[in-house]
């Protein structure tokens, strides 16, 4: 499986709002910690090492 970069979210705007909402009332440190937990949870859900490495590369701006 390849990293999906085409639109794939069921409800893009709703997700984005929920993401920002999840950080409400958190200071920078707690926000960072939340993001770290979120990344780990999502990474485990994805599972595929290849997809994860592609995502890391894309996030660093090195992909394609």
């Amino acid at each position: 499986m390849e990293l999906i970069t085409a639109p794939n979210l069921e409800a893009a705007d709703d997700f984005y709002e929920a993401l920002i909402d999840a950080h409400r009332d958190l200071d920078a440190d707690r926000s960072q910690a939340l993001n770290a937990r979120l990344i780990l949870l999502l990474a485990n859900h994805i599972g595929s090492q290849r997809v994860l490495l592609d995502a890391l590369a894309a996030a660093r701006g090195a992909a394609r």
């Binding site: 910690a33 990344i39 949870l41 485990n44």
Partner: protein, 554 residues
Amino acid sequence: MNLKELAARKGEPVDYQSLVFDYHRSPDQAAATPVRRPAAVVGAGPVGLSLAIDLAQRGVPVVLLDNDCTLSTGSRAICFAKRTLEIFDRLGCGDAMVDKGVSWRVGKVFLRDEQVYSFDLLPESGHARPAFVNLQQYYVEGYLAERAAALPLIDLRWKNTVVGIEARDDHAALAIDTPDGPYRLEADYVAACDGSRSAVRRLMGLESRGRTFKDRFLIADVRMRHEAPAERWFWFDPDFHPNQSVLLHRQPDGVWRIDFQLGWDADPEQEKKPERIIPRVKALLAHSAMKDVDFALEWASVYTFSCLRMDGFRHGRVLFAGDSAHGVSPFGARGANSGVQDADNLGWKLAAVLQGQAHDALLDTYAREREFAADENIRHSTRATDFITPKSTVSRLFRDAVLELSRTHAFARTLVNSGRLSTPSTLAHSPLNTPDKAPFAGAMVPGALAADAPVTLPDGRRSWLLQQLGAGFTLLVAGDGPAGLDDIDGHGLPLKRLRVGLDIDDVDGLLARRYDLQPGTAYLLRPDQHVCARFRNACAADVDAAIRQALALA
């Protein structure tokens, strides 16, 4: 004392830490021209002693040089892995180690006072040896020294300090200091087993390079009556030692290893003082069921560590093994264990070269295989260290996130890394392997260490596969084996034929399962018990070619 006296005291309890061995003047010291010996091993620690015993058992006379006259002071390395115990079996002292050691296989990891992860290092039965024993290094060295004392081919020279080495094309020349003054000695090959501050390495202008970790740890070995299972317990951020990690481990004689992370800013001189250590131990006990138990401090050490290795483990006639060649953090018990495994790899190869059964090129494969193993050990060790001692803000952030999630989410527990404990390397890319020509299931790929299994002998006695393997090559065959089997020879090394159903019985069916045996299947095992070839229907010529490959004669 004399080494022979130690052997005579076998069976009595011995305080190995207090033994002082006599220096004896060797006739070599009076020789007008330097005497040439086949093999000199520098350093009589666990690695040097293991190598000397292995060489002597194979008929090679060994000069074993040590700059001191005592065994290990302090417990130091305490965790000896299943593979190391199997090597000690081959060296004739495995029973002593296992009988005295505390056997264990379960590790538990706590976040604050809650268990978040546990691991079982040997979840299946049918192996002669336990996953690990904990045993103070002075016992390990003591039992090895007793074994060495029984081997006349070992010439152990205490208080012989190597102060010069010259590597020549066909030998190495050593300059050695003794209480009687200096002398010179030549050896066809020198094995430098002289530890992390190797004098041989320094004298040759070589380096071991890598990463040093900016953290300090305190080892407190404490003698006390403490009731807890023989398990490895590791805490992240416990209430009794906040923001740091703690490791608790049981040793023989009622001694407990406690390893406190202190942080980089701790003052090593201050932290070594009993008045600083005792409150730390009391704080730990106050959180256990043993609040008021009396204890005595046995040994303490404050340490930092590095993960490093030499670029090459072979420099002409000089071979490096153990801490001289590579260093790891202690989390994972990969230091002494990998050193003994170096000796295991080097022993048969050096013997084969010295006895003319193989060319010098076989020794290149020692370096290649053990450099590969060192990289694997360093990788595991570095990952554990990065988890225990995060190097950056973001590394700490993810570490804490993993620990936090591990309380409620099973997946995060697999990321908790308090040390991945020593397992033998599978030498999958070794040039000594013969590639498979037929499909096989299971883990016994060429390069893998032979897995143990229970067997029975023709007279009905129970035994273990590994204890039935030969000192040279072993051909493990399901059934009668290939035509002409009896005519195959080991190219000068012994070749033991082990026919399943004839020489050994696969009493529980585990041998067939672990090796995916079918009628006619054959495995060729190296003298160090690694698989080097396997066949579904071998002919004698195939086996002969595989033996030549394994001796680097191909």
